[in-house]
């Protein structure tokens, strides 16, 4: 059972804190010979697989490194175009590592404010009057739990669907936020949280939540 990550969104929809607790690594490294039997394309400044799923390399995976050298977007470490490099037969055999591209902090920011809007839309679309907005979003592989405080701050936890006790974890994170962010006089409201104590205590809370699955009284 794991908690994947934690997001804190302020009332304007800005991401003020993000923490990746655990991200499953599903990188695949394989040695290829010419010609490459995967179809690659450039998408969003990355070289990704568009066709030819095989050996755990899935469509959407990006080229992360070639022969152990990390690629830099669509360029190799020594500044050559990746696609061109891979189409040149005398470079082979090549060890290429593929994996799901990580979210950049910019993308996380965008997604957080997008969720903020979806939350607002959700509460307006609801046929039930007085609906609270999105509290849980469940998928095959993870569950997103959102807790909005009366003041409008959202605490979002992504966790394994089987993980129990997320509600009390969210309350606990609210407490930690009120203790270690708000009581720090040098933290300005609505701004990104860069407080070590906050992070330390958050980590402890996540550990306890993962181990117990739930918070007992007085934990």
């Amino acid at each position: 059972m794991v908690v994947y990550s934690v997001y804190v969104v302020n009332k304007a929809g800005g991401l003020i804190y993000q923490y990746d607790n655990y991200s499953p690594r599903n990188d695949v490294e394989k040695t290829f010979s010419y010609p490459l039997d995967l179809v690659l394309k450039v998408y969003d400044e990355r070289v990704v697989v568009s066709f030819g799923q095989r050996d755990g390399i899935k469509v959407g995976y990006a080229v992360l490194s070639i022969n152990g050298f990390d690629v830099n977007g669509r360029y190799t470490a020594d500044n050559r175009d990746v696609l061109e490099y891979l189409n040149t037969s005398y470079n082979y055999p090549l060890a290429i590592r593929f994996g799901r591209p990580r979210l950049t902090s910019n993308e996380k920011l965008m997604l957080a404010s997008m969720f903020h809007s979806l939350f607002a839309i959700g509460s307006q679309l609801s046929p039930e009057p007085g609906s609270s907005g999105i509290e849980v979003l469940e998928t095959d592989t993870f569950k997103l739990h959102c807790f909005q405080t009366l003041t409008g701050i959202k605490f979002i936890v992504l966790a394994d669907p089987r993980q129990a006790g997320i509600d009390s974890l969210l309350r606990k994170i609210y407490e930690i936020y009120s203790d270690f962010a708000l009581k720090n006089p040098f933290y300005s409201l609505e701004m990104p949280i860069r407080c070590d104590l906050f992070e330390q205590n958050l980590k402890v809370a996540l550990e306890i939540a993962e181990k117990a699955g739930t918070f007992g009284a007085g934990s």
Partner: protein, 180 residues
């Protein structure tokens, strides 16, 4: 580990004297720094406001109160839960206006003024004005604009200390999604 790792939902008890003496030092310093009492009052209110906007999150995280649906409920929570939690006193709620948008908190023993005698040259000073700012700041964060002021003060020879709260409006633009 953290110094508050074992802190539960019940708050830590501490001697209120350090608090009242610190507050006294703050007020006397402000009286030295500003020429007139009006400015001191304003400054205390401003500080209180800044405390209030942070304190509300602590309050909501620790007490399990939900959203108040009318001003009477708000009055009850302020008097019975919030004042109890942070100052250890329970003021009484009285003098409701006919419209139900105004009430008074009567403080029997204001802990801030435990050892205070107001000198004659500070007749305009509202010694505990910080509390007004705290109430205003905290309620603003839960989308209530209110007006708070002291109308009676034992320091000024009144029988009781009375804080008057007047509801102005709901701050709709700050209302979080999903709250009607």
């Amino acid at each position: 580990m953290s110094r508050q790792a074992n802190r539960g939902t019940e708050s830590k008890k501490m001697n209120s004297e350090l608090f009242t003496l610190t507050y006294g030092a703050l007020v006397t310093q402000l009286c030295k720094d500003y020429e007139n009492d009006e400015d001191v009052n304003k400054q205390l209110d401003k500080m209180g406001y800044n405390i209030g906007v942070r304190l509300i999150e602590d309050f909501l995280a620790r007490s399990n109160v939900g959203r108040c649906h009318d001003f009477r409920e708000t009055a009850d929570v302020i008097a019975k839960v919030a004042f109890k939690m942070y100052l250890g006193i329970t003021p009484s709620v009285t003098n409701w206006s006919a419209a139900g948008d105004e009430f008074s908190l009567i403080l029997e023993n204001n802990p801030l003024v435990d050892f205070v005698e107001l000198p004659d040259n500070h007749s305009g000073l509202i010694y505990s004005n910080l509390l007004c700012g705290v109430l205003r700041g905290a309620l603003e964060m839960v989308q209530m604009a209110i007006d708070v002021k002291f109308v009676q003060d034992t320091l000024k020879g009144d029988n009781v200390t009375e804080i008057r709260l007047k509801f102005i409006k709901r701050i709709e633009e700050n209302l979080p999604a999903g709250e009607e």
